[in-house]
């Protein structure tokens, strides 16, 4: 593209001399902010075109203004047909999206399978809760399920549809095996696990009803015995994983509940095992996530040298022969007292945990102490 030489243009532009008084700071500000009325804007621009001083003021002040959002680039003008086509395409796409949304929600309400998938995902991400949470109403319903069979229906993996609540409970159980889609929507939204079991038992053929009821009773009994065992077992000797529990054979009526626990619907996801470290100031730190380390709030005057972990048992020792023990992954701590004859001027430098009951300590002089009763007595 041919243009006037810049040098020639500069020469002629520089010949223009401004006439009249300079606009005041108010007018220059209003020009920079586009707040002038048209008549004023023209006169100010005429002056600015010929006055390098005022141009310098305007550009300097404008450059010093805080950064503002970039003005949107105006789109080039389109032919009317393209505008019309774009509008129709936009409306059509909106209609398709609306229809898809309606179909999705209708499918969601008539077929609980998507919800179960979502619930399964949620259950997989849910943090662990150590205590089983089966409700008393569920137990009662399970126990009170009548052995008599109803007249119709059948029991297979295609059980009647469950409510969202039930689906959630089932998802907690059968995260690895989602339930097959149910053909019939649930009538009640507050049905519990026991209610469903009872329904399935009622809907089963007469030949299977007795078997189903017996399996239900077996599951209840197994669950209760498992609960009793877990309460009776000492905490320190509890297995690290709470998923090890009573094994129950899957029932046809519980096809969707493919689990190893009668209360497996409430078995939490495995808890991420915390990690421990001692920082450069001798403080004990705990991390549950990958990169976040939080100080462990135990004795602030303690200076730790060593930490040792066995399952949920954490042992930490340091200066002045101070020893701390946690049986719950570092949530609660107790200070363990060593024999009074120990020289408190030394520090624990090694902790060897052979078992939850047998721990051996060693201080910086080489002296050792051993316990075989989880720290109650030391030798």
């Amino acid at each position: 593209m041919k243009r006037i030489p810049p040098s020639t243009l500069r020469t002629h532009l520089a010949h223009n001399q401004a006439t009249g008084p300079h606009p005041d700071a108010d007018l220059l500000t209003a020009f920079a902010e586009d707040a002038l009325i048209d008549r004023e804007r023209t006169s100010v621009l005429t002056h600015l075109a010929a006055c390098p001083d005022c141009r310098a003021i305007v550009h300097t002040a404008t450059a010093a203004a805080p950064e503002q959002e970039m003005l949107p680039e105006p789109l080039p003008a389109r032919p009317p047909l393209r505008n019309w086509f774009a509008s129709v395409a936009l409306v059509a796409s909106l209609l398709v999206m609306a229809a898809s949304t309606i179909v999705f929600y209708r499918t969601l309400h008539t077929n609980p399978a998507p919800m179960q998938t979502a619930a399964t995902t949620a259950a997989q991400q849910r943090p662990a809760t150590p205590t089983p949470q089966i409700s008393a109403a569920t137990n009662a319903a399970l126990a009170a399920a009548p052995p008599a069979a109803p007249k119709h229906s059948r029991t297979t993996a295609h059980a009647p549809a469950a409510s969202p609540v039930l689906q959630t409970e089932e998802a907690r159980v059968g995260a690895a095996a989602p339930a097959p889609p149910a053909p019939v929507a649930s009538a009640s939204s507050s049905v519990s696990l026991g209610d469903l079991s009872a329904q399935r038992a009622q809907n089963a053929p007469p030949a299977e009803q007795t078997q189903i009821h017996a399996q239900m009773q077996a599951q209840i009994t197994a669950y209760r015995s498992a609960m009793a065992e877990s309460k009776a077992a000492p905490r320190s000797s509890a297995p690290a994983s709470s998923t090890e529990s009573v094994q129950v054979a899957p029932s046809p009526a519980f096809g969707a509940l493919r689990t190893t626990h009668p209360d497996a619907g409430f078995i939490p996801a495995p808890t991420p095992r915390p990690r421990f470290r001692i920082n450069d100031r001798g403080r004990l730190e705990r991390s549950v996530q990958s990169s976040i380390w939080m100080p462990v709030p135990i004795a602030s005057d303690a200076h730790f040298r060593v930490v040792s972990i066995w399952g949920a048992d954490v042992w930490a020792g340091g200066d002045h022969l101070r020893l701390f023990h946690s049986a719950d992954n570092g949530l609660t701590w107790t200070e363990v007292q060593l024999p009074a004859t120990a020289d408190r001027t030394h520090a624990i430098v090694h902790i060897r945990v052979d078992s939850p009951q047998k721990i051996t300590l060693e201080d910086d002089t080489g002296a050792t102490w051993t316990t075989t009763d989880a720290g109650a007595t030391w030798q």
């Binding site: 243009r3 209003a30 902010e33 707040a35 003021i57 300097t60 404008t62 805080p66 970039m70």
Partner: protein, 315 residues
């Protein structure tokens, strides 16, 4: 800072409110409740007086519609704040410092380019805003000159820029004689500028074409070619996108070229002569320093012998 809380009349002349038409006066009065004037103890009569002064200053001879448009665009709240500050109202100064002190110093830093100078010019402006006593012993604040046409923050930036440019020019005129003597510049005669007379036909065509352009186009050309402003700076000043400014500048220069060529052709020049006149690389545009450097460099490069004999002597 202790500021006399006694109100005083600004030194700027205030025309009588009756100079405006009734609708304009009514429109001014209608803006009083939302102006915040009552918070600073400004009565409606005072408000009407200084707003009328603003409208009269900028649109006394304009039609009523222009006056109303101007009034609509006025920054009434900030104008009231400025007047209250210049009157010495403590609450107004508190509000002013809260709202504008930080931006004032930040703008000064940006304009000056360094913290020390920025703080200096901001302090100087701040003293002017507070007011200096005049011959009569009364304090005159620079805020009296704020008319509310733009934002108060923008006005402060403009005043800072003006002050900084004036300051740079005054410092540029002060030349250290010792430095000149040390560098030998004190004894050297200033170079004589080479004035290249433009071709009269081209000058006439270009002048006429430039006169035909709109004021905004001339402002654009002057800012771009004379002040060496960037497209981004121009776009910001004219509130358009940078790419829009680029396209507009392209169209403008192309249009300018076509119009000038048309005028030259109309004056009897051939197309070839027009091209020669408008050739981009003109040796006359070379600065004298650059041409002398080029001459010396060429002379230095050609000073050696072109060929050598086998024994190494020059031929």
């Amino acid at each position: 800072m202790s500021i006399a809380s006694e109100p005083r009349t600004p030194d700027v002349p205030l025309p009588a409110p009756a100079a405006l038409a009734t609708p304009v006066s009514k429109a001014i009065a209608a803006r009083f409740p939302d102006s915040g004037a009552s918070r600073y103890g400004i009565f409606p009569e005072q408000f009407l007086q200084f707003v009328t002064a603003v409208v009269t200053k900028y649109a006394a001879d304009s039609p009523e519609s222009d006056q109303l448009q101007l009034l609509e665009k006025l920054r009434i709240e900030e104008l009231v704040l400025a007047r209250a500050c210049s009157a010495g109202n403590d609450d107004a100064w508190t509000d002013f410092l809260t709202r504008f002190r930080a931006s004032l110093y930040e703008s000064a830093y940006r304009i000056a380019g360094n913290d020390a100078t920025g703080r200096e010019i901001a302090d100087e402006l701040y003293a002017d805003l507070y007011g200096l006593p005049n011959r009569d012993g009364r304090r005159v604040s620079k805020l009296d000159y704020y008319m509310g046409r733009g934002s108060l923050e923008g006005w402060l930036r403009t005043v800072l820029a003006q002050h900084h440019i004036d300051r740079c020019r005054s410092y540029a005129k002060t030349v250290s004689l010792e430095e000149q003597v040390e560098s030998g510049a004190g004894f050297s005669a200033p170079p004589e500028p080479i004035v290249v007379p433009p071709d009269p036909r081209l000058a006439a065509a270009l002048s006429q074409t430039l006169d035909e352009l709109t004021a905004e186009d001339r402002f654009l050309l002057a800012s771009y070619y004379l002040d060496q402003r960037t497209l981004a700076q121009l776009a910001r000043a004219l509130h358009v996108h940078e790419s829009t400014m680029s396209r507009r500048l392209d169209r403008l220069t192309s249009h300018l070229h076509k119009r000038v060529v048309k005028r030259l052709r109309a004056s009897g020049l051939t197309a070839r002569q027009c091209d020669e006149l408008l050739t981009d690389t003109d040796v006359r545009d070379l600065s004298p320093g650059l041409s002398s450097d080029l001459t010396a460099k060429l002379r230095q490069e050609s000073s050696g012998p072109a060929f050598y004999n086998k024994d190494g002597s020059a031929s």
